[in-house]
Amino acid sequence: MCVCPGPRRIGIPVRSSSLPLFSDAMPAPTQLFFPLIRNCELSRIYGTACYCHHKHLCCSPPYIPQSHLRYTPHPAYATFYRPKDSWWQYTQGRRYASTPQKFYLTPPQVNSILKANEYSFKVPEFDGKNVSSVLGFDSNQLPANAPIEDRRSAATCLQTRGMLLGVFDGHAGCACSQAVSERLFYYIAVSLLPHETLLEIENAVESGRALLPILQWHKHPNDYFSKEASKLYFNSLRTYWQELIDLNTGESTDIDVKEALINAFKRLDNDISLEAQVGDPNSFLNYLVLRVAFSGATACVAHVDGVDLHVANTGDSRAMLGVQEEDGSWSAVTLSNDHNAQNEREVERLKLEHPKNEAKSVVKQDRLLGLLMPFRAFGDVKFKWSIDLQKRVIESGPDQLNDNEYTKFIPPNYYTPPYLTAEPEVTYHRLRPQDKFLVLATDGLWETMHRQDVVRIVGEHLTGMHHQQPIAVGGYKVTLGQMHGLLTERRAKMSSVFEDQNAATHLIRHAVGNNEFGAVDHERLSKMLSLPEELARMYRDDITIIVVQFNSHVVGACQNQE
């Protein structure tokens, strides 16, 4: 997710009429963005962003008619060249030489790029005695920004049951999404803990004893945690649970997951904001907390415990349930609502939360205050703090912040903050045996693929991998030879067809490489992946995907028990 419009949106021909408007609106945020990004030591993205906008404004109109065919060979060319092989090759060779971006990646090269960030986790199955409704998950991400601004997290709650999975889409840098990805699950886990466990943990901290582990993380080696801030983060978390302990009136009521999720989201956002206001004597940390607060992140988090599935969503990432109908076909059930201009209820909410005279300015050009695409997010204090507070913090902040034009910039029509909240919308779904998997993904996926296609591709991939229909002879005349042929065929199919073990990788392959017929086109895939860093963001957004697979047997058994 980026504050600036992605190339796809502007590239859609229908919208071309709105271009002038965009052009008008662009300068402020774009210019303001650069210094911040540079300050994040991402000097390269500076170039990207610059190039990106430059192109939009000057060169995009000629591209528009071609945009969604950009990487498929033009049929006319093909027929024209191919009959004469030698000439065709010659031409190809020439093209290689003259236009450097035209080289191709080999399939192994493509695979190594696609698989660089893939991660799979299988819930340890204790000898067929699997008590979890989650079989495991596959996750992966493909950067478009450099470095990537998306984050992902997955963890098992150790003191309560259940598993947490989430995707986080950062904007204006990755500081906020990084912080949320490492902190949010602790807030959720703490919110879910019973009073006694909280007391036990607090006593352990108080007396310096070993702490009960709360989360077991399932991380890809590239998913890092900030060492420097861990003390600060821990103290904020501790204050939270201390308050939870104090608030407890002694009635041991059942903890409501929905409420816990909402509280955790709000609390973390509040802590991010507070930490930035208070600052830190350590100048590195001080700058870090400010960067976290001034950048933003959306979050889409699933909590699975037995048959209870809760999805908490803030922003425009999406959770999609893959349901297998009785006839074997796949259908998609959306478990989250996007918080953006396409969601009328969100637009309505924003208008109600602010005075009538702001009705026109609060959502402008499909953006919050004409700037921000998601209508809910972590961080982004520019849309939350009062003008006074923003000025005070920036003035007392480090020089880097002071020099930063973006942070100093106050959004237009900024009368009645806050305009932005991190409060999630929580959806509850009771899992059924036909619910086979859940896809959590950032908008990078959803804007390239229809949800129905996403579910079908994952569904077919997973069934192909695991659930080949068993064979039964059942009264037919079958000879040993025929059976043997059939079995050998099935085995070959199992082993060779799926080069992607990981469902998320498979999905990214489709998202990036699909041609207009919905099939992966290697040439297109290769081109998309070999785009220079500064161009990549024009054609696609960061994509982060988690595919959680459910254990239908366990889900079915849970259902039958009740």
Binding site: F126, G128, P470, V473, T479, L480, M483, H484, L487, R490
Partner: protein, 702 residues
Amino acid sequence: MHVPEDAVVSSADVALALASAASQNGVQIYDRTSILHVMVRKGQVTGVETDKGQIQCQYFVNCAGQWAYELGLSNEEPVSIPLHACEHFYLLTRPLETPLQSNAPTIVDADGRIYIRNWQGGILSGGFEKNPKPIFTEGKNQLEIQNLQEDWDHFEPLLSSLLRRMPELEALEIVKLVNCPETFTPDMRCIMGESPSVQGYFVLAGMNSAGLSFGGGAGKYLAEWMVHGYPSENIWELDLKRFGALQSSRTFLRHRVMEVMPLLYDLKVPRWDFQTGRQLRTSPLYDRLDAQGARWMEKHGFERPKYFVPPDKDLLALEQSKTFYKPDWFEIVESEVKCCKEAVCVIDMSSFTKFEITSTGDQALEVLQYLFSNDLDVPVGHIVHTGMLNQGGGYENDCSIARLSKRSFFMISPTDQQVHCWAWLKKYMPEDSNLILEDVTWKYTALNLIGPRAVDVLSELSYAPMTPDHFPSLFCKEMSVGYANGIRVMSMTHTGEPGFMLYIPIEYALHVYNEVMGVGQKYGIRNAGYYALRSLRIEKFFAFWGQDLNTLTTPLECGRESRVKLDKGMDFIGRDALLQQKQNGVYKRLTMFILDDHDTDLDLWPWWGEPIYRNGQYVGKTTSSAYGYTLERHVCLGFVHNFSEDTGEEQVVTADFINRGEYEIDIAGHRFQAKAKLYPVPSLFTHKRRKDDVELSDLQGK
């Protein structure tokens, strides 16, 4: 291999025939009656509680197959029968064009992991696949056995090997693929015998898919066992008491049977260790030893070091190390043995079964004198090697007993005796006695310090004098070693070499080990394992229970007259049998063989079970063997019989008979000349270290 007498029987028909024969002899059979549990009073079976009422009985035989485990557990005092089921698939086809004759041989293709036999003119073919599917881990057999699914994909490798072996079967039409679970045990041997905890509770189960073939013999021995109290053959290897409750974890069984089932059709190489269900019982030193390169074997769930791989040496991968020839650990063990002979080694032998028997009065001595064949009325601090014999004079157990005080004894037995020996002692101990029997196996870590310098190491760690005058052989003293007090030090090594066994309360184990290794540096101390121990003890003609000795071998048959108190006028179990044997002479004699013309590098090695030939006549089989690094020859132990040339009847074996023979050991069809010895070879060959042998590297600590 074609066996003309081979036959096929139908299990259902056999069972029916047996049932009707039994009924004719007055046996009552209750159909459709399920057992709730077995009733036990005072450790003795009294009857069976069924869903249709009680049935009184004195004996109960649990032969419930894959349900045996659950049935055993249903008792108030559970009987642990370690077995686990795996799905087993076999294929049935329609008849061949010319239907198979009923005399068509059964074919086993071990490489293809399949068997094939005639079934109504067609074939029945199944196998033991590499990737078994264990089933019923959580019980529920009864509920689910009705609706087991065929799994063709799983059967594919077996079908492929069937069609590779007999391509023309392709045209045969399938009737069905049957899924019929079979049970397997942790060591691929069946389970039979009496429960160690409940008298009259017998078991016959876990036939590893060979129930029909073994059923006849197994039934015979079990019947003898029930009628006479013991079977007519040594079947310790099948005895339920070789297992304890520790093998009863469902997870352990599930993992182990997945390894056992494919093994049925695998080549079984000597000294093979199971890979699953490991690291269950370990010494407190396990991690230390492992870090120093220990390779492990397992006995009764206990990890024991085989040898220590030096840091600069690589061994073959597991699969490549399978051999009947000279193994890759040869040089490693050689250096360990050498160190035992010349300097000092330490072997962790904590797995030994250790019992303490104490009483308030003299009862302990009285009872033990009756239970054990050697005289235990020795001064406090003495150690006695003695057998625990049965009525027939055979070894139920071979152990060392230290007299700790007038009224308490410390008993050391082989590792796998833990259940059997306990049950035996319990059975013969008077019920009303104030005798206390305690299993202290887990309380002590045992370190064996072997070698001429062991005495130097211990002297440095203790103020107690260690010289032979103060500490003669076969003595036990409680003393301090390093900071640790109360270490039981025994001047014995189970190998015939000089040295000491240290029985260390486990909390001191690491301390004592570290001290011993630290002080031992200058004496060239190093770790050693059981392979070195084995080579040493076989070279010294030390027989071990469970390998050379069993319930049918007596002390007189292995040259241990001196360890029996026949002339003391004291009664003990097995005395009558031994007296008679002394009068009549023995019918077999444990003998040591030294292979003469055997090339260690190139010839197949003897392992055990090789036929022994005397003057060209078969006289018995070897029971254990090892390479003797001092003799630089292979050494085998084995029993020599004297079969009458005319009748084949067993005749008396005398020392003269042994000495006046020319011997050969047959290793896989090749006979090697062997020298027979009735007593260990005096250490003629022991190296005297020459001065110029010393190298600079010997000055470095290891």
